[in-house]
């Protein structure tokens, strides 16, 4: 089959590799009809995530048609499914508590050592996201092997376009959980750092959960415009001073809840970012944490900070004092996708949530490398790239 493989920093290629097969009783093989490039794929593309190996197939946002099932899969051949990016068994203690991203069994035993050493506990298995996350082949390919197919994939009714439901795999539940983790109360003002897909879905979700005002922060005018379309006020951090603007816009109180939808590759020429970046290039593991620093700094006393943005290593100059002295609550984590999917699918089918506005480019899988370069280099215009294995290549 054809698949997008990681070869090294800023080097991804579509190559011919051998097909996936059923290995365990609960497996299924999915023929991919649509897959997306995620902002966190750019962390791999930029070489920030360790334990990637040349030849690894990327991609954790995908959907398709069931073409083969193991004896214990509950799926049927021909069904259309969206697959969660977290690999969860459904039978351990954490899955029983609906904490699917904390599943004990999604990671192969040998791959659990790194997480155990670095984080104290092994983390969830993820598709196409390095060997410390399981070394699973991702979905930016023609076919993918899906373990625990009786637990993860959600069946999509016929007649619903891929574009409407594809983002159930990651970014919609991630934006939704980000807003849920902000414990939004009616009348709240919520500030969202980053108007990428997760930030924009967090804006939408915050309003649905009762926020009175949402203030969206970014430096790409087009992305801020998308946030404004959902009713958000905006701050362009290249034109305005974020903290000062937030304080004045909230009458000196500060936002009741702050959402960092940026993660470890914060942009901007801030002194702390430059220092962090030098450290990243010389001493692996210090994340660039400008967004979360600013979120904690701006959040009102007794407020909530939600951090869906991805971090992988250690933080320098983390404002621990502000967190404590202001009595803030910080919630974060990989998304419990399996838990949120059914409710969000219903909201999509009811017309309450539309995610198609995000898609700026649709390309054949063969042009995946172009997609990565565009998404990486032209972030203002390129908000979301979808890849379709079956799509004919333009001349």
């Amino acid at each position: 089959m054809r698949a997008l493989t990681w070869q090294g920093k800023h080097d991804v290629r579509v190559e011919t590799v051998d097909d996936p097969e059923i290995l365990n009783p609960r497996d299924a093989i999915i023929k991919i009809t649509a897959t997306a490039i995620c902002g966190s794929d750019l962390h791999l593309y930029d070489g920030y995530i360790p334990t990637m190996k040349a030849g690894d197939i990327m991609g954790h946002e995908f959907m398709g048609e069931v073409v083969e099932t193991g004896p214990d899969s509950t799926l049927e051949i021909g069904q259309r499914v969206v697959v969660p990016f977290t690999i969860a068994c459904g039978s351990c203690y954490h899955c029983g508590k609906q904490q699917f991203a904390a599943c004990d069994n999604g990671l192969p035993a040998d791959n659990q050592d790194i997480g155990q050493a670095v984080y104290g506990h092994p983390t969830a298995g993820l598709f196409g996201f390095s060997h410390m996350n399981g070394g699973y082949s991702g979905g930016q390919a023609e076919f993918v092997r899906v373990p625990f197919s009786d637990v993860g994939p959600i069946i999509i009714p016929d007649g619903v376009a891929d574009e409407k439901v594809l983002f159930l795999s990651d970014i919609l539940p991630t934006g939704w959980m980000a807003a849920e983790n902000a414990d939004i109360e009616p009348g709240d003002t919520v500030a969202v750092w980053g108007c990428g897909p997760v930030g924009l879905f967090a804006v939408q979700s915050a309003f649905i959960m009762g926020a009175e005002r949402v203030i969206a922060i970014d430096h790409f005018p087009h992305r801020l415009e998308l946030a404004r379309r959902f009713g958000a006020e905006t701050i362009n951090f290249e034109e305005s001073k974020t903290y000062e603007a937030l304080m004045e816009m909230t009458g000196g109180i500060g936002p009741d809840a702050c959402i960092d939808a940026v993660g470890l590759e914060a942009h901007g020429l801030f002194a702390d970012n430059v220092i962090d970046q030098i450290k990243v290039s010389t001493f692996l593991g210090t994340d660039r944490i400008h967004a979360i620093r600013q979120a904690i700094h701006a959040c009102r006393k007794g407020g909530r900070v939600s951090m869906p943005g991805v971090y992988g290593g250690f933080a320098d100059k983390f404002p621990l004092g502000a967190l404590m002295e202001k009595g803030l609550t910080l919630k974060t984590g990989q998304t419990h996708v399996q838990y949120y999917m059914p409710e969000l699918l219903t909201r999509i089918l009811d017309g309450e949530i539309d995610t198609t506005f995000l898609i700026s480019h649709t390309l054949p899988l063969e042009r995946a490398a172009d997609g990565y370069r565009m998404f990486h280099d032209e972030q203002n215009e390129v908000t979301k790239v979808i890849l379709k294995p079956g799509m004919a290549q333009a001349a």
Binding site: E21, L23, N24, D72, Y93, N105, P108, Y136
Partner: protein, 184 residues
């Protein structure tokens, strides 16, 4: 074989986690919580040939009688190491203790306990003591069995947990070829 070290700490932590222990390199202990009843887990474990399904280095376990079994385990290079293990004590659904018989390539003994953990299932704790043989080959075996056993046992227990909780052992391999090549 003497396997009970003298308690060296004043706290309630497991003795295998003591910072100063003369048995550091000979004794290891690992615990895992599994979402099944202690009885189920004991039963699976008590049928000793089952253990080869999740213990990576074990090639074969052959039952000799109710108490005795012959173990063939991957050794250094292409060699195998062997011993006959004898169950010295058992309490149905709770505990199993074993000891290798005289002539073992790597004399070893240990216990595995299954403790009820209510809604979380059961806590399985394996405590193993190894006695390295002398000589060059002994040093190689010692390196394998003394330095690695904690890691190996931890991985084996994780596979045991996966098998008992999910009915399968997780792999990141895409197909049989990659699985056989051990590429995850």
């Amino acid at each position: 074989m003497e396997t009970q070290p003298v308690r060296a700490t004043s706290d309630d932590a497991p003795f295998s986690t003591a910072k100063s222990s003369s048995d550091d390199d000979r004794l290891m202990s690992q615990a895992v919580t599994i979402n099944r009843s202690p009885g189920d887990l004991f039963q699976f474990w008590r049928h000793l040939p089952n253990l080869a399904s999740f213990m990576e280095n074990v090639e074969q376990i052959e039952l000799l009688d109710e108490q005795r079994s012959r173990w063939v385990v991957k050794g250094p290079g292409d060699s195998d190491v062997e011993w006959v293990s004898r169950i010295t004590d058992e309490r149905e659904g709770e505990m199993l203790a074993w000891e290798s018989e005289a002539g073992a390539d790597v004399p070893n003994s240990g216990t595995v306990t299954f403790r009820d953990a209510g809604a979380r299932g059961a806590v399985v704790t394996a405590t193993i003591a190894y006695d390295p043989p002398a000589g060059t080959i002994g040093r190689i075996i010692a390196k394998m069995f003394q330095r690695e056993p904690a890691i190996q046992a931890r991985r084996d227990l994780r596979r045991f947990k996966q098998l008992m909780e999910t009915g399968e052992i997780a792999t990141g391999a895409r197909n049989r070829r990659l699985l056989q090549e051990g590429k995850n």
